[in-house]
Amino acid sequence: MSGSSNVGMHIDHVADEDPQKLAEFEARIDAGELIEPDDWMPAAYRKGMLKMAEHHANSEIIGALPEGEWITRAPSLRRKLALTAKVQDEIGHGQMLYRISQDLGKTRDQMLRDLITGRTKYHNVFNYPAPTWGDIAMIQWLIDGAAIMNQKTLADGAFGPYVRTMRRINMEEAFHFKSGEDMVLTLMTGTQRQREMCQEAFDRWWYPSIMFFGPPDKPNSEQLPPMRWRMKTELNDSLRQRFVNRFAPAALDLGLKIHIVTKDPDGIVTSKTPDKNLRLNEQTGNWQFTAPDWDEFYRVIRGHGPCNRKRLALRRLSYEQGRWVRKAVLKGSTALPPAA
């Protein structure tokens, strides 16, 4: 899962960089070369890549929390095995991305601490609840599907370690997406109750997945450092349109209805109406849709989503409860678990 396109990257001041070196660096980027950690790079690039990789790593490990909660409740042994493997993959993605960030100059312990004290963020989409098995299916279909689209474009980036990690991660994301697709298909070809559960979960996840790609682009996005330096390679709105073009007709084929919804503070749908704007524009070949509620997006990002506190609380508890293990490992001592 995951992808970090909604990380707020504000990069400026390259003014104090050596203009000669900066020009060479940008020429290498334009030539499609990859930048390696030992190569010269603007300080703002190093900082931006660290921020991006760290945000992505945070998203991987927080994203696994709602899914991890469902392992014990999976409906069959095969689904349980698959979900366990998926969660293991996501934590592995976090490990790899933290490692890249460590190489860019921040310790892992500091990153884990900054995450649980709210100094750094993770992807907004993980602040929504997963109350039923239908949500687990939707997360793997829509969110891992969105993550693959995004991470494929990130694999065309310019920072060598990040690009190689994206390639490796995407192999595993393909499994997450396919098993998600299988779960959604199973539910939608199942009983009336299963189809209803699936529709309700779809209603909860459709708009968060459209917002997954981040807010609308600024008019000059292509000239700003993240794209100028190939830290990302496709505009948010373009990714979003490709996502809708792929998933809207698939959802309709499955018999799902696409709704505009209102939700209560816990993220549960309180009312819904069909999206009247949803249709294929024959001229452009694009599916038109009602734009998401961006106020909601910013509200959730600022910490007021349904699950922000819950996610951080669990991560912080895990960090604190795991302390004796890390202590034992780091010091090689015979520290015992705290008495219950």
Binding site: E36, R78, L81, G92, K178, S179, E181, T189, D253, L330
Partner: protein, 193 residues
Amino acid sequence: MSKIREHITLVEGDLDTPIEGDLEPYVIFTQLATGRPYIYAGWVDAIDAAMAIQFGREHYGQDQKCVGLWAIPKPAITAGGAEMTARGRYEVFLRAESGEPHRSAGCVEAESSREALDTARRDISGAAEARSIWVALSERIVATGPDDVIWRLTDQTYRMARGYASEVRAKWEEVRARKDIEEYEKDDLKEMF
């Protein structure tokens, strides 16, 4: 357990425990078939080489069929910067094209890591044109044994995309056929019969 975990209260503010520090980074290489080069896979953080190999197997040995694994402490790999003055056999790794992973390409005997790099450029085929060369003292490499089973013994296709491909396709056909039938039956005068 789940119900309890649903209702943990968030403790806010700074942690009152000191910064703990990180484990040691190890670089992991995987060998996909006997006799083939070891290819850079990624890193793991570990307390020692044994733990690095264990993590490496879990982490990098399960995506592709893999017969061997190397773990090398990151500081033991030289790319030309810091010099190691140790005499011995050095393993040479080459990145042939920009962005490609490093691959093992042979060994050289040298007095130091710098000499190993120079010798490699001269004696190892492809090294002169390589985009990047790494050398590491062979004795610092920890490897899995020839009889170690790294790849899974049981069927684990449930953790691969291809484990779902044919089922997913069959289900889509069913869904789309059902839709076509509904479309076709739309004008049926069911109430007449």
